[in-house]
Symmetry: C2
Subunit: 455 residues, 2 copies
């Protein structure tokens, strides 16, 4: 069996003595898959060499790591940059999440055309790696939007292989697929439709089918399968010295105040600024929360190579600052914004949150919404956007958030903060049960079954 994802289970670092050390990768997919695959010598994981040290490790034939049959692919670095930054992140990610400022972007110009060619080339490099690695009839599980052209390429070269593709993002409504150049939309969907296409929720699967029907006039095979965080791994992080220390600092900082908490990548789809505006409105409408609540937002930088993300980070910082300027007292800073990447500290925050705000515009799944209930020591109330894929699972037990509606979000926070303990406990128990109900192993098995059935 072969698993293909852009980010691999580890990244390499060249040490001063010239040797290479490896470190576990972050990210939901990698965290979910790694424990399942470690030690299984029937599985090869193909991923991209990301960064100079990964490439150097491959060049030095030092990219092996205990427990994994890992194959790092090294595309041409210009092709890889265009594939990743321009097509995957600035085009497909934006399209599927609905993030384009359409009067201005996208512009499908000459630069995009070169980038699309590079995207195709990088997909072909991975398809070639799959084909040269796979034995007769092997199962191939291709992950995410970086590799949407791989299914057609592998099908063409190796009809014996049994392949499924899984999209971890949302998929756009049928109208929006027309934003892509006609030939690009057709090439993308023709490839995806050549294999069973998996999504975290029926909503994204339905959008995808509608797109394929719109562009190709056929109904493609789809499946829905999802997973939750690994409870044991979360518990281990929560028990780590880093998390304990971060937790002690949080306790000292927050004291006996209520904690509204969020943790996200600094990502346009995460809707961080509107979260601060809703908290501002909460303090405005309900004076009882002044000096009584802290909103801790541990959000960490992402994709800072894209100008949109740098600008968004500034907007977030300015919005948080304005809320603090309006409400802070000598003893109380209402918004605690921290942009250092520290997973253990986020875990400590999730353990202590009274209210967890997860208000993305649109999100493939959103693992934080499941991590919160699994980690909570305080019967956390989750305020969850209807735009998150996880809403389809957790909806009955969260407080629903309308991501564009500041007034409604402020009201949701107030409802969460005032919820009586009995209801909190009951909802938290249901959320904990649902958040742990879908182990990644079942999700992996479902992909294998889908791939096998599509021969």
């Amino acid at each position: 069996m072969i698993i293909v994802s852009h980010r691999g289970p580890v990244s390499f670092t060249r040490e001063p003595d010239g040797t290479f050390s490896s470190r576990r990768g972050a990210g939901g997919v990698v965290s979910a898959l790694s424990p399942l695959i470690e030690g299984r010598d029937d599985i090869v994981w193909i991923a991209a060499a990301i960064g100079d040290d990964d490439r150097a490790a491959v060049a030095a034939d030092a990219a092996g790591v205990a427990g994994f049959a890992l194959h790092l692919v090294v595309p041409d670095s210009t092709d890889h940059r265009l594939h990743y930054d321009v097509v995957s992140n600035a085009t497909l990610w934006f399209l599927f999440h609905g993030l384009f400022d359409l009067p201005r972007r996208p512009r499908f110009d000459q630069h995009f055309r070169s980038s699309w060619t590079a995207y195709r080339t990088v997909n072909q490099v991975f398809a070639d790696a799959i084909c040269s690695t796979a034995g007769e009839g092997d199962v191939v599980l291709v992950q995410d939007l970086q590799f949407a052209l791989v299914p057609a390429m592998v099908r063409a070269a190796r009809p014996d292989l049994r392949l499924a593709h899984f999209t971890h993002t949302p998929f756009c409504p049928a109208d929006d697929i027309r934003i892509l150049p006609d030939d690009v939309a057709k090439e993308l969907l023709t490839s995806m439709a050549s294999a069973p296409a998996g999504f975290h929720t029926e909503r994204w699967a339905a959008n995808y089918r509608a797109c394929v029907e719109e562009i190709l006039g056929v109904t493609p095979p789809t499946f829905v399968s999802t997973f939750g965080p690994n409870p044991a791994a979360l518990a281990a992080t929560a028990a780590s010295p880093q998390a304990l220390e971060a937790g002690a600092r949080l306790d000292a900082e927050i004291g006996d105040r209520h904690l509204v908490f969020r943790t996200d990548r600094i990502e346009l789809s995460k809707n961080i600024a509107r979260g601060f505006l809703a908290f501002d409105r909460l303090l405005d409408l309900h004076p009882q929360w002044r000096e009584r609540v802290v909103f801790a937002a541990f959000v960490y930088p992402s994709r800072e190579g894209l100008a949109e993300y740098l600008a968004y980070r500034q907007e977030i910082e300015q919005t948080a600052q304005r809320v603090n300027e309006r409400w802070a007292t000598d003893d109380w800073k209402p918004v605690w914004l921290d942009t250092h990447d520290d997973f253990a500290r986020s875990v400590a925050g999730l353990q202590r949150a009274d209210v967890l705000l997860v208000n993305p515009l649109r999100d493939g799944l959103n693992l934080v919404a499941k991590e919160g209930p699994l980690l909570s020591t305080r019967d956390v109330v989750v305020c969850l956007s209807r735009g998150a894929g996880a809403f389809d699972e957790l909806g009955p037990f969260v407080v629903e958030v309308h991501p564009y509606d500041i007034e409604q979000t402020a009201d949701a926070l107030h409802r969460a903060l005032t919820m009586d303990p009995g209801e909190r406990a009951s909802r938290a128990a249901d959320l904990r049960r649902l958040a742990g109900a879908r182990p990644a192993s079942e999700w992996l098995d479902e992909q294998v079954a889908q791939a096998a059935s599509a021969t």
Copy 2:
């Protein structure tokens, strides 16, 4: 019969001597309706007093004008500003045209809530004006997104009246209606669904029905009807001294070069910057057009009270300047951008255009796409975006434009410039026929029939 539109057939100006003069209003709806209604004393036109002089004319009881039974309504000026700027222009217009930069806007905050209340109040003022004006069983034709709540208000107060509502913009796909606050979407659509709702094309009608089905779970009555420019009025403008003089200046400026032409409001949906980028790419790809083509863009300011529109104007100017910096020679300035509002000059441009570029992201109809063929003296080739409502009528005889695809648009311009004279003449004849095929009188009659049938 009562016609209700935000802009009336005339606007008033207070003269130095204290009297009021009136001037014909601009805009497609007003131009189409005015000739039909002038002199018909069975029709009352209800519109908003816009600007101080209109309000002063009403106060002085001087808002009458020969040929029209005109009733100018004067809402509270703060309410009117919130109704028009915040709800109609910055929210509903943006929603229906798909213009939101969603990571940042809209923000449904306290200010929006006050504005929505003001929108409702202004709609009630107009509903009251209708109810106090209308005789038993009268037909009431309500125009456009400024008055979406009027149908329900009139229905409630005067069930005897027979009402239709007509939307001149596009309507958004079903997914996007969820961007509005839940109660706002429900109130808006419940009102619209209480009367037959008209649209320029089946596309927008289908989107609207899908939105109502999504939010209310019912299928509302709709109808599709549209109109073209008034050929006689266009001919009269073309024969005016202003147009003749502007034409002579254009001839001198352009000489024997080909003319690519556009004329639009400076409006985010019109996609003006990408048009310049496509022209830049045309010059890049096809050196034969260097020094041989001028792109004249007569685009005029609009809604400069909204920051987005001022910013967009700057972007347009900068884009045009960059193209000129790249390609201009001593004898040739490739882009001629002019932002003065001068309809006669636009008519002169439309008469002379070899190629007319109309590339909106999304547009309810787009009258320019019909004015061009009716005015052309050169068998104009129309490069028309698939996003324009008019594309559904004119599609077979235009060169299709993908509004986000710069490369495709450059190619469309090249195809248009190189089209052989026989094909040009044949297409131009078809376009002329179609552009003149739907007189506004039939469109008005259809609304009356729809209103009458919905008692």
